[in-house]
């Protein structure tokens, strides 16, 4: 409880805010909830505008100045739409699935430090909590796919489970090497440990984490769970109205959450010169999200077996190597951190990634005789 109240000042609200713990809890939960939803809408807007620019078209520009109100207009539109539950659906599960998918993503933000001390709950197992909670939303997606009674949805849901099971491992290993360097699982401590952003100390870890996180949250080129050109809309084919909007929101909230986590554990979180902490945090989150949008406009989608091959044959070995190298560095030569280790690790990453992709990584042919 002390930890919670101690985090208040940085949000520039008085520390002796009247009402005690529960009052604080309500206020900050509301603030974070609002922040997350606004960020998700901003992400939708940024993505659509950036996609438009990169595809030599305009993007939404009619609703409000520069089209900024487009996500709001879309939200109103879906709210007013009819909510259709297919006849063959498992109604209870169908109803519950969007919630099960959405709430865990929201919970991630409880431990994200938005500024110096501006964190709802500075859990001492913060990053572990993030990994655990984010995996729950997969259950929601599988529930959606299963309960719809639609084969496209089922295929999308099966792909999702397969991908998340595979990509969770390199993701956690990449996080583990960060934790070794930082010496703490708390996100706040991890930020404090980054006198140099960990993207420099852990370039390979960053790469693995970024790819694995993109695959887990269904970002292109790994957007196989909804694969619009194959499975129509994947797991949410049978959703309409507000429930569809929930999945849409999940997608972008996840993207913002992953950007926030990457910002926190690799890019130094809210730390940075001159500007206030929250602004640095926001700028970094947008930058990471923009990188995801950029990838989306650039690359075609991979196939399901190639997705698996990438996780098991490429990311996992690299993550293990990175973990070993990091552990040895921290144990054997702690005084070299971070200076010389940065150069060594960047060299390792620069050598290992092309080497591994050329020599050991064969995505396989994919044809099965029938």
């Amino acid at each position: 409880m002390d930890r919670l109240t101690s985090s208040i000042p940085a949000l520039s609200l008085p520390a002796d805010w009247p009402g005690g713990f529960w009052w604080h809890w309500v206020v900050f939960t509301t603030i974070i909830f609002t922040f997350v939803v606004v960020m998700a809408m901003a992400a939708i807007y940024i993505e659509r505008r950036a996609l438009g620019r990169m595809q030599s078209r305009l993007g939404p520009n009619r609703t409000g100045p520069f089209g900024v109100l487009q996500p709001v207009a879309d939200a109103i539109k879906v709210l007013l739409k009819e909510d259709i539950i297919p006849t063959g659906a498992d109604k209870a599960v169908h109803w519950l699935a969007p919630l099960v998918a959405f709430i865990p993503v929201l919970l991630i933000f409880a431990v994200v430090p938005f500024g110096d001390g501006a964190v709802l709950a500075d859990l001492n197992i913060g990053i572990l909590y993030v990994v655990a909670v984010s995996a729950v939303s997969t259950v929601g997606i599988f529930m959606a796919g299963w309960s719809s009674g639609n084969k496209y949805s089922l295929l999308g849901a099966m792909r999702n489970i397969a991908a998340v099971v595979s990509y969770e491992m390199p993701l956690v290993l990449a996080v583990a090497s960060v934790v070794i360097v930082a010496g703490s699982l708390s996100l706040h401590r991890i930020v404090l440990a980054q006198d140099f952003p960990f993207i420099l100390v852990q370039p390979l870890g960053f790469l693995v984490f970024f790819i694995a996180a993109c695959a887990e949250i269904n970002r292109s080129p790994f957007d196989l769970f909804e694969a619009d050109s194959e499975l129509v809309a994947g797991f949410h084919t049978e959703y309409s109205g507000m429930k569809f909007a929930m999945f849409y929101l999940v997608e972008y909230t996840e993207a913002v959450a992953v950007s926030a986590i990457i910002t926190t554990i690799f890019l130094g979180g809210w730390r940075g010169p001159f500007l206030p902490g929250w602004l640095w945090f926001l700028a970094k989150v947008v930058a990471v999200f923009f990188a995801m949008v950029w990838v989306r406009t650039t690359l075609p989608r991979v196939r399901i077996d190639q997705l698996m091959a990438l996780a098991w044959k490429f990311l996992l070995p690299l993550a293990v190597i990175n973990l070993l190298v990091t552990a040895i560095q921290v144990l054997a030569w702690p005084e070299a951190l971070p200076g010389i280790v940065i150069i060594i690790n960047i060299a390792i990453a620069a050598a290992l990634v092309p080497l591994w992709s050329k020599l050991f990584f064969k995505p396989g042919r994919g044809r099965i005789e029938v």
Binding site: L155, S220, P300, R303, I304, G366, R367, E369
Partner: protein, 374 residues
Amino acid sequence: MTTRSEVMTLKTEPFAVNFGPVHPSTHGVFRMRAVLDGEVVLDIEPVFGYLHRGVEKLAEERTFTGFIPLTDRLDYISSMSNGLAYVLAAEKLAGIKVPERAEYIRVIMAELQRIANHCIAVGAFLNDCGAFFTPFLYLFREREKIIDLFEMVSGQRLTYNYMRIGGVSQDLPEEFLPALRKFVDQMARFIEEYDFFLKQNEVLLARARGVGILSQETAINCGISGPVLRASGAAWDLRKADPYSIYNRFDFDIPVGATGDSYDRYRVRVEEIRQSLRIIRQAMEQIPGGPVMADVPRPLHPPTGEAYAHIESPKGELGFYLVSDGSIAPYRCHVRPTSLINLTALREMVRGWKVADMIIIFGSIDITMGEVDR
């Protein structure tokens, strides 16, 4: 308690999924009834006919000239080529000689149409691969310039109705040739840039190379033509094999693929854009003056008889078979639809591949449902 042997005897079961007729990647209203084992396609059954309009029957109730607008509705992605194939058949039937200038205009239009068609074919193929609209929209931007050129000569942007029996409907406007010259230069630069980004793309290579191989033998046995056949290694192009119009005057190559996979089909199309630009450049230099329309009696009464004319349309061999009984309307009109015949090998190509591959193999054939169903 479940024993190990019981687990091992658990059976999986193939299930049927309908892809289409309303589906983002079926390029219209095509339907594939696929039997899947998990992600693997065991078998497919193509279902079509949703867009049947009875075009061949409609021809019997129209004059020879009056049928030209309907040919635009066959392969509506490349209307110019359809019109060309039809008027060639009608001219053969009636024995009409076309003026020089009209021949050149037809060649320019047909080659521009080939570029426009391949822009859509390649763009849609990459879209099927899952590239989120970026390559598609860039190619659409280039196609738009061709559409502008077509609008300049015909006033239309999709169904041009420009070819006439005995020539073309109107002469090129003054500003056309400079605009065409500018476009050809731009397109040549653009296609190099585009190709540079895509031919080495790791994801595209992993997705398309070796996927959906169509052997030359199967392709020939199925009667497949066009880029799909050439990607399988057969250098068969009607512009060279049976030169119609004035194609024997131009110098161009027939690009062929090595393995017949989806990537080769993509490469052949990109290469054909380059070759078409070459032909257009030569045609622009050689184009003579003079009339664009022969002296054709109206209404046209071709003598009793029959004629078949075929062209190398962007998608392959497009033929029109016309029978005349001496009246003003064809007694029988038959279309040899490229898209439909190219589809016949689809089942062979997709069996054993994954769902995602099925979509891109289908996309790499490049069909238009208007032509499949007629």
